[in-house]
Amino acid sequence: MKAGSNLEKAFAQGHFAVTSELGPPKGNDVGVVQRKVDFLRGCVDAVNVTDNQTAIVRMSSIATSALVVQMGMEPVMQMVTRDRNRIAMQSDLFGATALGIRNIVCLTGDHHTFGNQVNSKNVHDLDSVQLINMVKTMRDEKMLLGGEEKIEGDINMFIGGAANPFGDPFEFRALRTAKKAAAGVDFIQTQCIYDMERFKEWMKMIRDLGVHEKVHIMAGITPLKSAGMARYMAKNVSGITIPQAIIDRMAKAAKGAEEGIKICVEQIQEVREIEGVHGVHIMAIEWEQMIGRIVEQAGLLPRPQLE
């Protein structure tokens, strides 16, 4: 066991893991965190805590994750290389592990021009692959980046990364995930899947590289609320492709939300059959209350109590 986190145990004991995502408040209202945690309680093995997602200022992921730990749920702290240099990131890792946070997802993060601090100076001292390698070195060799100093204490983190099978150049995507595997990632959460064919093709390339044995792949799923949302995401969220069939289906449905949930559950069942997919990561942006229903309809309840 690398970190002994609940998520790691789920994978280790062969369960089909389920994680979701929680957006910290745009302020310090702990109640927001409490409410979202209560929605997810018992439905997921761990919950991602985003780090100023789309470069919009929110409570920091380390603080929110610590709160989630206090609230009795296991967080997956996301860390973006956009905002902190290697000094800040390594010291945050010390703090996070001390506060009982066991999972991390290393991301490059959205460009600051997408958010509400367009004039900020971005950092990008490291990129996601280098961050993964850094956390692994801190955990396995107890060394800081640069390798001079020994770390007092253990940095037991279950390291996660992201992957976007729908980005270009497609042939390189699997190779890049293999690169992250070599860098020391333990699990991968993909971008939300709508183009199932392309995802299957990507998974095949992953299997050909043998990456699925070294790394736990989690399929990213996002329920659509309405046809409008589908069209919006298809148009201006780059890296996401939504087949016309799904958009039409959403448009025809009387209640978009219900249809979205139905599609979502179908997708979960479909990805479960794909060899190498060890879990699902359900991202319901500001719709955390639906996670319970989705997980239940997908037959993934009750979540295993692991020790």
């Binding site: 021009t113 001292d125 990129d127 996601s128 280098q130 992957a163 980005g167 190779l175 690169k179 890296g239």
Partner: protein, 223 residues
């Protein structure tokens, strides 16, 4: 070469408001090439400034000068006499020129006339694109001749990020994704295997500007 863009005329008029006689100093090198501060641009800007001030009733006398370069001490010192006769200087050379004049003429205010942008390539007539960040430790060998530090919005060394689609960067539709270019060129050079090895964290603090303002000394030439 260094690429720059002239500041707005309003901003320049705002700088020059308190003065009646100025020198407008161009530069015969980089800013001439990118049409921001060459002799023609100096003349153009000078007439615009004069006409603007004519309208307001306080005419502006402009001494137009374009030495070969503004970043050599000797060229700057050649402007000593004319600068003695003006109240301020508006230099439309890059930031280096403005600061060279500022160093050599402590008693004269030197205003920047352009915004120095980047070290870039002329992609087409009138189109210039950033190519180099002068990071001090060139890694173009690793990326088949395309620099992610200058041409990737997130300066990724192990790109592309999730947002690259149809070869374009998610941030600006007109910008090519550097890593798409790197991938394509590596593939055509048969060097794809290089992209599968992780490029380690860059030593920013030692060679890039993060190590503070940098200096090159060639002992063999210095004497």
């Amino acid at each position: 070469m260094i690429k720059a863009e002239q500041k707005s005329i309003e901003k320049l008029l705002e700088y020059l408001a308190p003065y009646g006689k100025i020198m407008l100093a161009g530069c015969g090198a980089c800013v001439t090439v990118c049409q921001a501060g060459g002799e023609k641009d100096v003349a153009l800007l000078a007439s615009a400034l004069r006409m603007a001030r004519q309208k307001t009733g306080q005419p502006l006398e402009i001494l137009e000068v374009t030495p070969a370069r503004q970043c050599e001490p000797e060229f700057a010192l050649e402007l000593a006499d004319p600068i003695g006769k003006v109240e301020a200087v508006l230099s439309v050379s890059c930031g280096v020129g403005v600061q060279t004049l500022a160093r050599h003429f402590p008693a004269t205010m030197i205003f920047p006339g352009v915004n120095t942008k980047f070290l870039g390539e002329t992609v087409a007539h009138g189109v210039w694109e950033e190519r180099c960040q002068a990071c001090g430790d060139c890694l173009l060998e690793k990326t088949a001749g395309i620099c992610p530090i200058a041409r990737c919005a997130k300066q990724l060394l192990n790109g592309p990020c999730g947002g690259s689609s149809q070869g374009k960067c998610e941030i600006k539709q007109e910008t090519d994704c550097a890593w798409q270019l790197i991938y394509d060129r590596s593939k055509s050079l048969g060097r794809l295997h290089r992209l599968t090895e992780m490029i380690p964290a860059k030593r920013w603090g030692v060679q890039s500007r993060d190590s503070g303002p940098r200096r090159i000394v060639r002992e063999d030439l210095k004497v």
